[in-house]
C-alpha cells in the first residue's frame, strides 16, 4: 500500500503514456518529457503562489501585524488577485531601451530557473530530467542567470539598472565559488555527479537510527551552511539583496520593468530559491529519504517537500530578522572566509574518508574544521584595530 502511494505519480505517468502504445518511440519520448515539464511547472508555480502569500503572512507575524487577510480565507487567494493585477498592468518599455534585449532578459532568467529545477530528485524514481552529470548541469545552466541579469541591466538603458546588474553579477560571481566548492566534498565522497546516486548514498542508518545524511558529519554541516548562505546570495535574498536595495538604487536591474515582466523576475527569484534549496536537500539533507526507518511509510516526495518547506521557512525567517549587509562586507566574507572554509570542507571530507568514515573520521574532520575556523576568526578579527573611519571615494 505504502509503496503504491509512494509511486503514485510514476504509475500515473506510465498509465498516461500507455495510451500512446504503438506510436513511434520518439513521440513517446516527447510526450514523456512534456508530462515531466508540465508536472514541474504545475507544482512549482503553485508553490510559488503559495509561498508568496505565506511569506507575507509569516513576515507580518514576525512584525506584529496581520498581513494579507482580505482575499479569500486567511488571505489565501491573494496570489490570484496579485496575478490578475500584474497581468492587467501597463507594460512600459523605456523609449531608449533596447527592446529585444529588454524583452528577452526576463524570459531567459525564468527559463534558467525552471531548467535548474529539472535535475532534482523529488522522490523515488521522480527525477524529471535524469542525466549523468546532474549537479554539473545545475551549475552550468544556473550560470546563465548572470548573463540574463546583465541583459536586464544593459537593455533598460538606465543607470540604476546597470549599477544594480553590476552589483548582482559581482556578488553572484563571488559566491558561486563557495557554492560550488561546498558541493565538492559530497561529490567526492559519493563519487558521482548524479543527484540520484547522491540521494542513494544517504539511505542507510548509523547505529540503526541516525540517518546517514551528510549534514550529520562535521564537513557536511559546514558545507551545508556555506552552501545555504551562498544560495541565499545567489537568489538575491535578504540580507544579501544589495542589487535591488531600494534605498540606494531603486530596484536594481529590475528598475525599468513593469507589469508581468516584473512578475516574471519575481517568479524567477523564487524558482531559483526553490532550486537551490532543493539541491541543498538533495546534497546534504538526505533528499527524499525519511529521517527514520519507521517513517518510511510516508511517501518519499512528502519528505522532500517537508524538508524543502523547512529550508524556505528559514529563508523567510532570515528576511524577517536580518538587515541588509553592506557590499564590501559581503565581498570580504565571500573571499576571506567562505572560500577558505569551503576548501577546508574538501580536506575534511578527505580526512573523514581515509579515517574510515566512522566515529574516528568524524572526530578528525571536526578537528580539521575547528582548527581552520579558529585560525580564520583570529586572522580576520578586525575588532582590535580601532581607528577613525577613512572614507574613500572613486576618483
Amino acid at each position: 500500500m505504502s509503496s503504491s502511494l509512494d509511486q503514485i505519480f510514476v504509475t500515473a505517468k506510465r498509465w498516461l503514456l500507455s495510451w500512446l502504445a504503438g506510436t513511434p518511440d520518439w513521440i513517446i519520448q516527447i510526450a514523456s518529457s512534456l508530462l515531466n515539464i508540465f508536472a514541474l511547472l504545475a507544482v512549482f508555480l503553485t508553490l510559488f503562489a503559495l509561498i508568496s502569500v505565506l511569506e507575507r503572512k509569516i513576515l507580518a507575524r514576525m512584525q506584529n501585524r496581520y498581513g494579507p487577510n482580505r482575499v479569500g480565507p486567511f488571505g489565501l487567494f491573494q496570489p490570484i488577485a496579485d496575478g490578475i493585477k500584474m497581468l492587467i498592468k501597463e507594460d512600459i518599455v523605456p523609449a531608449r531601451a533596447d527592446r529585444v534585449v529588454h524583452f528577452l532578459a526576463p524570459v531567459l532568467i525564468a527559463a534558467v530557473a525552471i531548467l535548474t529545477l529539472g535535475v532534482i530528485p523529488y522522490g523515488r524514481n521522480m527525477t524529471p530530467f535524469a542525466i549523468d552529470g546532474g549537479i554539473l548541469f545545475f551549475f552550468a545552466v544556473g550560470s546563465a542567470t548572470e548573463l540574463a541579469v546583465f541583459m536586464a541591466g544593459w537593455g533598460s538603458n538606465n543607470k540604476f539598472s546597470m549599477l544594480g546588474a553590476m552589483r548582482a553579477i559581482a556578488q553572484m560571481f563571488s559566491y558561486e565559488l563557495p557554492l560550488i566548492i561546498a558541493v565538492l566534498p559530497v561529490v567526492m565522497v559519493v563519487g558521482s555527479l548524479t543527484p540520484d546516486k547522491i540521494v542513494a548514498a544517504q539511505a542507510q542508518y548509523t547505529f540503526g537510527f541516525v540517518p546517514r545524511w551528510f549534514v550529520f558529519t562535521p564537513w557536511g554541516a559546514t558545507a551545508f551552511i556555506l552552501f545555504f548562505v551562498s544560495g541565499l546570495v545567489e537568489s538575491n535574498r535578504t540580507p544579501f539583496d544589495v542589487p535591488e536595495g531600494e534605498s540606494e538604487i531603486v530596484a536594481g536591474h529590475m528598475t525599468e520593468y513593469s507589469g508581468f515582466k516584473y512578475a516574471t523576475f519575481f517568479m524567477a527569484e523564487y524558482l531559483g530559491m526553490f532550486a537551490v534549496s532543493g539541491l541543498a536537500v538533495t546534497l546534504f539533507l538526505g533528499g527524499w529519504h525519511g529521517p527514520a526507518r519507521a517513517l518510511e511509510i510516508v511517501p518519499s516526495y512528502v519528505w522532500f517537500f517537508i524538508k524543502l518547506s523547512a529550508l524556505l521557512f528559514v529563508y523567510i525567517w532570515l528576511r524577517g530578522t536580518l538587515p541588509r549587509i553592506r557590499v564590501d562586507q559581503m565581498m570580504n566574507v565571500a573571499w576571506k572566509f567562505m572560500l577558505p572554509m569551503a576548501f577546508t570542507c574538501v580536506i575534511a571530507a578527505a580526512v573523514w574518508h581515509y579515517a574510515g568514515r566512522g566515529l574516528r573520521g568524524w572526530l578528525w574532520s571536526l578537528v580539521v574544521i575547528a582548527i581552520v575556523y579558529t585560525a580564520l576568526s583570529i586572522l580576520l578579527d578586525t575588532r582590535r584595530k580601532f581607528a577613525p573611519r577613512a572614507y574613500r571615494f572613486a576618483e
Binding site: 554539473l136 552550468a140 550560470s143 546563465a144 548573463l147
Partner: protein, 160 residues
C-alpha cells in the same frame, strides 16, 4: 530523432553565428555569440559527451560571455553606434574555413565510418585526468592560481 535534432541545432547555431558576424550593434553580436556557444554545447550533448557540453556552457556562458559583455561595456565609448562591415574579417574567416576543411580532408587517419567508442562519462574523464594527465592538470591549476593572484595585485590599492 537525432538527425532531426542535429538539423535544428545546426540551423540555430549557424543563424546565431551569422548574427554575431553581421549585427550592427556590438552588444547584440556578443549576446548572439553566447547563443552560438550554447548551440555548440548542444552538439556535444547530442554526441553523448555530456561533460564537455556542460563544461562548455559553464565556462563560456557563465564566464567568457559575461567577460566579453563587460569588456565591451567598460572599454568602448561607441557601444550605441553602429559598426561598419568588416571585409578583412570575412577574408580571415574564409581562409580559416578553407584551411580547416583542407586539413580535415587530407588527414589520413580519419575513416569515414564512425568508430565505436565507449560513452565519455564523467568518471572516465576524472580517471584520465588523475592518472595520465595529472601533470598538465597541475600545470593548468598553477597557471590559473597565478592568474588569480595577478588579478588581485592589479586591483589592489597602492598604500602610501
Amino acid at each position: 530523432m537525432n538527425s532531426a535534432a542535429f538539423v535544428v541545432i545546426a540551423i540555430l547555431t549557424l543563424a546565431a553565428a551569422l548574427a554575431t558576424a553581421t549585427l550592427q550593434k556590438l552588444m547584440h553580436a556578443a549576446l548572439c555569440f553566447a547563443v552560438a556557444l550554447v548551440g555548440v554545447a548542444a552538439f556535444f550533448l547530442l554526441l553523448g559527451a555530456e561533460f564537455v557540453g556542460l563544461v562548455l556552457v559553464f565556462v563560456y556562458i557563465g564566464a567568457v560571455a559575461v567577460l566579453i559583455v563587460f569588456t565591451i561595456l567598460l572599454t568602448r565609448r561607441d557601444i550605441g553606434k553602429d559598426r561598419g562591415f568588416n571585409w578583412g574579417g570575412v577574408l580571415v574567416a574564409v581562409a580559416v574555413f578553407c584551411g580547416l576543411t583542407w586539413s580535415i580532408l587530407k588527414t589520413p587517419s580519419l575513416s569515414s565510418v564512425a568508430p565505436h567508442i565507449r560513452a565519455l562519462t564523467v568518471k572516465r574523464i576524472g580517471e584520465a585526468l588523475m592518472t595520465n594527465y595529472v601533470w598538465p592538470l597541475q600545470c593548468i591549476g598553477l597557471l590559473l592560481t597565478a592568474a588569480l593572484i595577478g588579478a588581485l595585485i592589479l586591483v589592489m590599492e597602492e598604500r602610501g
